[in-house]
């Protein structure tokens, strides 16, 4: 419904409605963004719209690791300098981006596109787990790092995958759990503290 008192025309309202579909963007945010875009220089607005169109046209998912990419297979999968014997399993493409930023990991990835979330109706069959098992059959993987999120759903996903692959002769590891840098011991929960103490190292 168009509210003319806000200067709304059908095109403005359409943009408000479209922006409001984005996650985390409510009606007020959508309105604010819309009026910002109206005042934005035309060239900048056209660059934004062509960037959106370009992403939708040119970005796909790597057929091997399911990371977002412009070419298939992706740059990580075809990079001969990577340690292809170490496979890091993550929930989302953004996790790959975060891990790559650390420059601490030179292996390859597998993106599940989610985690097991029974209450939301997401089961193992909805994730790229079958594809992971296929890769373990075909590729020479020596270690699988289960880098799903350290929450209940991520742990359930890691446990489930562990169950499936433990008989395949690969080393299965999980990133260390513990106290975050900048955190306070006072605010850490018992599970985190327990794990941090278990994983303590020589100082």
């Amino acid at each position: 419904m168009v509210n003319e008192s806000y200067g709304g025309t059908p095109q403005v309202q359409r943009l408000v409605d479209e922006l409001g579909r984005l996650p985390g963007i409510g009606p007020k945010s959508a309105q604010r963004l819309t009026y910002y875009l109206i005042r934005m220089p035309a060239e900048q607005a056209e660059n934004l719209s062509s960037a959106i169109v370009s992403v939708k046209r040119n970005i796909t998912f790597c057929s091997r690791c399911f990371h977002i990419t412009e070419m298939d297979p992706c740059g990580i999968c075809i990079d001969n300098n990577r340690a292809t014997g170490t496979l890091c399993v993550v929930e989302q493409p953004l996790d790959v981006v975060a891990l790559e930023k650390t420059s601490s990991f030179d292996g390859i990835y597998h993106v599940l596109h989610g985690s097991i979330s029974p209450m939301n109706g997401i089961g193992p069959e909805d994730l790229k787990i079958k594809a992971l098992l296929e890769r373990l059959k075909l590729e020479e993987i020596e270690e699988v790092i289960l880098a799903t999120n350290p929450n209940l759903e991520g742990e359930a996903t890691a446990m489930y995958i562990h169950r499936l692959i433990e008989g395949l002769g690969v080393r299965i590891t999980r990133p260390a759990r513990g106290l975050p840098v900048g955190g306070d011991i006072e605010y850490a929960d018992e599970a985190t503290l327990g794990r941090a103490l278990e994983g303590r190292q020589q100082f």
């Binding site: 985390g24 097991i116 029974p118 209450m119 939301n120 109706g121 089961g123 193992p124 350290p150 929450n151 209940l152 742990e155 359930a156 446990m159 489930y160 169950r163 975050p180 840098v181 900048g182 955190g183 306070d184 605010y187 850490a188 929960d189 018992e190 599970a191 985190t192 327990g194």
Partner: protein
């Protein structure tokens, strides 16, 4: 129920979902207020002051303050994180199913102490690992009773006559078993029950909510499966929707066999 500007309670965390950049909307079942939903700001940040306390299935002491639409979580201390429960995939699947049941049948701002105590007790049993075959059906029957949907297995739910030895027909619409005379209409909400399944259901109801008590006998697997099936169908009928977590629960249970 009126509540002051800020308030505290003991709660079980049922689920959460992300909102905004770093926040989560958390659904809790509390001892004092029934089901409540609140915003935990910054929960998704690594150094969050909530740490891992607001993980599903945790038992917490929580303090909140009233917000414009949703209340805000101010502080949260874990009473029990049920670490052993969360170290086993089967028990996680069962715990999440219990959480979904409470989320479905619990009411907002409507305290139900028996329901809260039932959840807390059952999570402790799952954590201890002393799990009988009838733990989940016992939970389901207690939940139905405490929410006002206690099914009738002792007599015909329509005419109140004593039931002849089975097999039986359970009618979800009527909320109980029908005798031969009353079971005249074919209905999609009717399910068959064998004598063995009926014995198990009656046995559970006769424990009067003592969820910790082990049965002391081994129930036939087929009858237990029937009990699970009928209870699930009744729960779905009462809730008017599927319980999504049963898919994963069944998947894990079938892997066990």
């Amino acid at each position: 129920m009126t509540r002051s500007r800020s308030y505290q309670t003991t709660a079980a965390v049922l689920r959460y979902r992300p909102i905004g950049e770093a926040d989560r909307i958390v659904t809790l079942y509390t001892s004092t207020f029934g089901r409540i939903t609140a915003v935990a700001k910054g929960l998704r940040r690594p150094g969050s002051r909530f740490g891992g306390t607001l993980e599903p299935l945790n038992l917490v002491h929580i303090s909140l303050s009233r917000g414009r639409s949703l209340d805000n979580v101010n502080e949260c201390v874990a009473i029990n994180s049920f670490v052993d429960l969360k170290s086993d995939l089967g028990r996680i699947a069962q715990g999440i199913y219990l959480a979904e049941l409470i989320d479905t049948f619990g009411d907002d701002w409507a305290p139900n102490h028996r329901l809260f105590n039932l959840l807390e007790k059952t999570l402790r049993i799952l954590n201890d690992g002393n799990i009988s075959d009838v733990l989940i059906p016992t939970f389901e029957l207690c939940l139905l009773q405490y929410c006002g949907f206690r099914p009738e297995f002792g007599q015909c739910v329509e005419c109140r006559k004593e039931l002849e030895p089975g097999p039986y027909t359970f009618n979800a619409d009527s909320g109980g078993v029908l005798c031969g005379s009353c079971d005249t209409i074919l209905s999609s909400s009717s399910f068959h029950l064998s004598m063995d399944a009926m014995k198990i259901l009656r046995w559970i109801q006769n424990q009067h909510g003592d969820i910790a008590r082990p049965p002391g006998v081994l129930f036939p697997k087929e009858a237990l499966f029937e009990v699970t099936t009928v209870l699930r169908k009744y729960l779905k009928f009462v809730a008017e929707r599927d319980l999504r977590s049963t898919r994963f629960l069944d998947h894990i249970e079938s892997d066990k066999k």
